[in-house]
Subunit: 90 residues, 2 copies
């Protein structure tokens, strides 16, 4: 068995209202920041999976992303493999 | 001026309590999932910055990450450049 670390990036689907993103854009003027657009605020879940193969580990992550991390009706997610020194991955 | 898209990944610093991560780990048993450890739940903010150079755009993102996206006392962040077709970056 090996350990594999992943990140799941969850974001509001295109066209879905993103109130946190709008709040950020509304704050930019107060900070004197110009030229920032298209702000989307989502979640990022990092996790380590013990499995025989990376493909088996990824299947677990995919299931968790569907059932626990994202609401598939309004959110999209992508799975990212993280390569890290062993001591950081724990 | 060009447009550059970035993501800012914000996560609880090591050693800082992560109640959402613990909640996820507590749910794994109910889902019948084993072998998952080290769950950390953070935020991911994606944004487009208009600037003369990528380095200037990145400086804006760094400032926003410090002042708006992350609480530097308890959270760490990393900035990631996103290469996307122009129509998605908007």
């Amino acid at each position: 068995m090996s350990e594999f670390r992943f990140a799941v990036n969850v974001a509001p689907k295109p066209g879905i209202l993103d109130p946190q993103g709008r709040a950020v854009e509304g704050s930019l003027g107060h900070l004197g920041v110009e030229g920032v657009t298209g702000v989307r605020v989502g979640r990022r879940v990092e996790l380590t999976v013990e499995a025989a193969t990376e493909s088996e580990a990824r299947a677990t992550v995919d299931r968790l992303a569907h059932e626990l991390f994202a609401n598939p009706l309004i959110e999209a997610f992508e799975i990212e493999r993280i390569e890290l020194p062993a001591e950081v991955a724990r």
